[in-house]
Amino acid sequence: MTQSMDDKGLKAQVENRLADLFSDEEGSLETMEEGRSMDDHPFKELKVLLLSIEWEITDDAMDSLIREIKGRETAYHDDRIILTFLQLLGSAAKYIKVNKSKAHPKATRVISLVYTALEKVALSEGMAQAEKEKILLDEVARFKRLREEVKVRKEEIKAQVSSKTRGVSVRQEREAVVTPPEETPAASEPEKIRVQPDLGRIPPHEAFAHALEEIKEVIRAEFKALRAEIRLWRESG
């Protein structure tokens, strides 16, 4: 390997091979940068705020978003269609603000799709009223589906919590038959914080095990969401 690879021509050969394999078909950025201005866009601020919550949902970002939606609602109070779009966005934003990372995974996607539809309706010159109404109805339906899914999810969580509580009380009753429950200091301690192990300092198999646990947790959450969705789909069918 060293003999063959130790060659000044190698870099050039790799470059030539890559040029052969991947002939540039990419567009140019120059044309992109000459894009239209957004200065007079009626929802410029709203769009920026929506993009920012895709990354991280903070109280500040959500407050700004809700404030901006309210401002737009005032500006469009005499346009029934735009106003309804804004009300959908407002409801979804309030739900996300309250639930933050525990919000339904589809909520941010729905908010983004509703906004895209709003932009389409608001900025398309000459769009017929009937078409605008159709787009709005589609988004209202999407929003209702999300609301149903949220409801199912809430009920599932509630059921899980109550079954856990039942389990604990039954266990406590059984234990009480044998020995009276002792006061455990741990019970009054604050909730333990899960500390991430320093994976760089532990053996590879342990590092893998930690990552695997992390993935398992996400898969569990995914399956739960899928089950809720399948149930909804069956019920609606």
């Binding site: 063959s4 190698l10 990419e26 567009g27 940068e33 239209r36 990552a211 992390e214 993935i215 969401a225």
Partner: protein, 201 residues
């Protein structure tokens, strides 16, 4: 660490696309796969969450073919960008030979870019690798959003924020539309092969 099989005359290098969540790492690989699938004859593996985020990693193997009698195979990976998946990110970084740092050009993501680069440096250090020594290419993604008038971080500011000390080759790109996506990949492959060659001398 690249796998070099002298008997079979094979070289396999691992390149990881790193960067903040929603920055466009998976979109880079999606674009490459869409454009090159007829030529590379391999499949892309991707696992996404319910909310369309990368769960573990995306994986796209590319066969470059024979060079100097050796079969060169490149494996492109992405890491999940969300902060909470740090253990997965570290695991994907194990044995990495080259990195593309995909920064988000949106003004609102400035802080996230810097935090993600710091996280990359820390995670490499856990494997006793320095961000200054590993082949690295900077990609400033989403430049196409200027088309929509959205506030972007100017190229000079991105360079100042992320590349003042590293001085890595950098590209303005749009993973969604294509400009400089292939160019970024070519650059990191060349740098990685070059680095492997120097290590072997």
């Amino acid at each position: 660490m690249a796998i070099i099989n002298l008997r079979k005359k094979e070289v396999q290098a691992k390149i990881v696309y790193y960067g903040p969540g929603r920055g466009g790492k998976t979109t880079n690989l999606d674009y490459l796969y869409k454009k090159l699938r007829d030529r590379i004859k391999t499949e892309m593996v991707t696992i996404k969450t319910h909310g369309d985020r990368t769960l573990f990693f995306d994986f796209l193997p590319i066969e470059i073919g024979k060079i100097k009698g050796y079969d060169i195979r490149i494996q492109l990976y992405t890491v999940p960008g969300q902060v909470k998946y740090d253990a997965t990110r570290r695991l994907v970084l194990r044995g990495v030979d080259g990195i593309v740092f995909v920064a988000d050009s949106l003004e609102v993501r400035r802080k996230e870019n810097i935090l993600s680069l710091k996280n990359l440096s820390d995670n490499l250090a856990a494997y006793k690798k320095s961000i200054f020594d590993i082949p690295l290419v900077m990609q400033y993604n989403k430049r196409d959003l200027s088309e929509e008038g959205l506030p972007l971080i100017p190229f000079e500011s991105l360079e100042k924020d992320l590349n003042t000390k590293l001085k890595a080759p950098s590209f303005e790109a749009s993973a969604l539309k294509g400009p400089n996506v292939i160019q970024t990949m070519k650059k990191i492959i060349i740098m990685t092969i070059d680095s492997l060659q120097r290590e072997l001398r």
